[in-house]
């Protein structure tokens, strides 16, 4: 197991809840118009991890999603693809095949997603399976129970072990912020994940409410910024769940730009985990181009 040489305890700064909420709401009064809006909307599309994580997922559903990932709305030329398709491990091979050399990555959840309640051995096997099937990215969950018990070393070691098992695949660490309770804990979990080698930190599984919110994302972005200030290393961010409209997504991008900087405005370092966001963004793009809103029926539901 990789325990690296990080010295415990990891001491995180405290977070003022009122201040964070106030700062987060300030991003939402930025007015994003015209060229900036179009550029922003296309950026959003290109940052989406198109996701299906249901018990009733089938090959047919995954195939449809993979097609949509590459052809968001073919009647509008010049649209980007999404960043990745996010599935359970048993659909990785299929997704990989369907996406071919389109550049769209395959992300797989692993580590006994979504609860994370299993042995480390099973979690690592879960990761290995996804990696062997060709997953470009692994979305793991932290052991929230251990975290709440104060067993931070365990949480750290587990992330570090999963990171080793990922090989060349990039690791996104899901904190499940809706189960952490306070911004202080979110910050602490962020710092542990980053120290243990996360390439991305991610808010939520999408199975727990609240999922991503702007304030909780801001707390995580600040952890990323502090790490960057200390080490010069860039860590990515993925808010997931609850971001279903274009306007909100644009406000997230404003938050990323003003908190971290424009270097993060790429799908290499920022992602949206979402299933229904793409269609609203597409609708807004068509509105920008034609001046009128189209019916939702003109956009494929996958």
């Amino acid at each position: 197991m990789n325990t690296t040489n990080h010295c415990f305890p990891i001491v995180s700064p405290t977070i003022d809840q009122v201040g964070v909420i106030e700062r987060a709401s300030r991003f939402t009064v930025r007015s994003i118009k015209k060229d900036a809006k179009m550029e922003g909307l296309k950026m959003v599309l290109n940052m989406i991890d198109l996701t299906t994580l249901e018990g009733m997922d089938t090959e047919g559903k995954v195939k449809q999603l993979c097609y949509k990932a590459q052809h968001l709305h073919d009647s509008v030329p010049g649209l980007p693809t999404v960043a990745a398709v996010c599935v359970y491990p048993n659909f990785v091979a299929l997704a990989k095949k369907e996406l071919g050399n389109s550049g769209v990555k395959v992300a797989s959840v692993a580590t006994a997603f979504p609860s994370g309640n299993s042995s480390l051995e099973i979690k690592l096997n879960d990761v290995k399976m996804a990696v062997e099937q060709g997953a470009d990215e692994i979305d793991m969950v932290i052991s929230r129970g251990r975290f709440h018990r104060g067993d931070y070393q365990y949480v750290y070691d587990e992330i570090a072990a999963v990171k080793s098992a990922c090989g060349n695949s990039r690791l996104k660490v899901i904190l499940e912020t809706g189960e952490l309770g306070t911004f202080d804990k979110v910050r602490h979990a962020s710092d542990i994940a980053i120290a243990a080698g996360a390439d991305f930190i991610k808010t939520s599984t999408g199975k727990i409410k609240p999922a991503a919110t702007m304030p909780v994302t801001l707390v995580m972005l600040e952890a990323i910024r502090d790490h960057y200030f200390k080490t010069g290393q860039i860590v990515g961010m993925k808010p997931a769940g609850g971001i279903s409209n274009a306007k909100l997504a644009l406000h997230y991008l404003i938050m990323v730009k003003e908190t971290l900087g424009p270097e993060w405005l790429t799908n290499k370092w920022f992602r949206f985990g979402a299933s229904s966001l793409a269609n609203d963004v597409l609708m807004q793009i068509v509105k920008q181009q034609t001046g009128t809103y189209q019916s939702a029926d003109y956009f494929s539901v996958d």
Binding site: P13, V18, V20, R23, R30, S31, I32, K34, K257
Partner: protein
């Protein structure tokens, strides 16, 4: 990470429209319920500080006009307002509050055009707070006996009110709302560079059907303020502005029985301890000094940072300063608008020169500013000494002077080592530290883990050369009553 400039995804212009506002080409004086020309008849131009274009002409009043206004206020007090039932007074004040809300968009645009402040602030802060003050004091109008039990509070009579250019409509609201609610009549003079929203308020007061003469608004320069102060039939002077003028007013009314409240300058200490939530504190520093271009008497213009976190705070502050957008006040994305006047810009620039000569380290982000108009980028001086002029004198601009400290005792001593005492800020995660500090700080308002928060129910005012008397809350009522 790019610390110098936001290189990509720049926001497109998002200007607030101006088509809906109604402005006269030239404004008369509002006396005895009517707009009427001055006997002297001179006019001067009110310009937009963002492009130096003329917005409207405003009347330069004469002493005769002031006398007329005071007589109108006296007559209104004797004939109408002192006989109006408290409940009806409240109804009028409520009506003004509602009409400000109804016209909020127009008032916000005019405020930004005339004064240079960002539309985000006039829309989200100035105008809503102005309405809130009228609402708040309207509620007190018929409950004064409960505010001062067994005291039988009585109005003072005619109040002469002189307000500054940094929050034009809001300061008018702070002055007029409690005066009316307590049964006084008013002669108000707005600042010469920012009279337009006060004149729009006069239109609202007219439309609200207040008895003629209850509120009179005379425009012009400082000597008109002096004429109000020196008028023998004025019972109360309420002034917000510079400490220099406040001293002149104090001298002028010495030996008279005029009541007086003064809200003057400030050089507030904003104190960051090493256990503060740094990211939120940085936001508080920005709100403290760059809000309204730093044209704020309670601005947190002296920053005290505990030495162990100094480098982190300054790095994060500089990073945040680079995300501030300076420019067109009417653009919805503007964070820092235009400096209010050419004179004020000259003052600020002279202090920046002084700071450099004093050897402090200077920093400004290299953001673009428009070619016309009066602009000052957010500015930061580090390595400042307590004996530097930039740490002692009120600059009234977006210029922050940063000092370090080691212990609680040291910072209290330094923070209080100023002739001013209007406000202060303290940032720490420890509640006990907050209470220790706030009880020792000689400042009228002390904000803990926030800054520049205003509410009509909270009194505001200063110690020492920052003035005396309180505005807002119950305290604000007593400033207009014999109790």
């Amino acid at each position: 990470m790019n610390d110098s400039k936001n290189g990509s995804w720049d926001l497109s212009p998002a200007p607030e429209s101006t088509g809906h506002i109604k402005l006269e080409k030239s404004y008369d004086l509002f006396i005895n319920g009517k707009f009427q020309p001055s006997a002297g008849g001179k006019r001067y131009k009110s310009i937009n500080p963002a492009n130096e274009k003329v917005i409207a002409e405003v009347t330069e009043s004469t002493e005769a006009d002031v006398d007329k206004a005071v007589k109108a206020a006296r007559a209104a007090y004797d004939k109408h307002w002192s006989k109006t039932s408290p409940r009806d007074r409240g109804k009028y004040v409520y009506r003004i509050a509602r009409m400000i809300q109804e016209k909020a968009r127009e008032l916000a645009v005019i405020e930004s055009l005339d004064g240079g402040k960002p539309i985000r602030e006039s829309r989200d802060v100035d105008i809503p707070l102005a309405a809130a003050h009228f609402f708040y004091y309207a509620g007190w109008a018929d409950k004064l006996d409960y505010a001062f039990p067994n005291r039988k509070p009585k109005p003072l009579g005619v109040a002469g009110q002189i307000i500054p250019w940094n929050f034009p409509l809001l300061m008018a609201a702070w002055k007029i709302a409690p005066a009316l609610a307590t049964g006084n009549t008013v002669v108000l003079k707005p600042a010469e560079t920012t009279s337009l929203t006060a004149l729009k308020l006069a239109e609202i007061i007219q439309e609200a059907g207040l008895p003629p003469g209850v509120v009179n608004i005379v425009t012009g320069h400082g000597k008109i303020g002096a004429a109000i102060v020196n008028h023998t039939d004025v019972n109360k002077i309420a002034f917000t502005g510079s400490t220099d003028v406040g001293k002149i007013i104090q001298k002028s009314i010495a030996g008279t029985d005029k009541q007086c409240t003064l809200e003057l300058g400030g050089k507030a200490a904003n104190i960051i301890f090493d256990d503060a939530t740094i990211d939120q504190a940085v936001e508080g520093i920005v709100n403290g000094i760059y809000f309204n271009q730093g044209h704020v008497c309670c601005a947190g213009s002296r920053l005290f940072v505990q030495e162990s976190v100094h480098d982190e705070v300054i790095r994060k502050l500089k990073h945040r300063m680079n995300s501030l957008i300076v420019g067109d006040p009417l653009d919805k994305n503007t964070d820092i608008g235009a400096i209010n006047s050419r004179e004020q810009l000259a003052t600020i620039n002279s202090y920046i020169e002084i700071g450099k000569q004093e050897g402090a380290e200077f920093y400004q982000p290299d953001c673009e500013v428009p070619s016309e108009g009066y602009w000052c980028r957010p500015s930061l001086f580090t390595d400042v000494a307590q004996s530097n002029r930039i740490a002692q004198e009120e600059i009234f601009g977006p210029v922050l002077a940063v000092q370090t400290f080691r212990t609680v005792a040291e910072v209290i001593k330094k923070a209080n080592n100023t002739p001013y005492g209007l406000s202060a800020g303290v940032w720490t995660d420890k509640g006990s530290k907050i209470f220790n500090l706030t009880s020792q700080m000689r400042a009228g308002v002390v904000w803990a883990n926030t800054y520049n928060k205003f509410d009509p129910s909270s009194p505001f005012g200063g110690y020492k050369e920052s003035g005396f008397g309180r505005e807002g809350g119950l305290h604000g009522l007593s400033a207009y009553l014999k109790t």
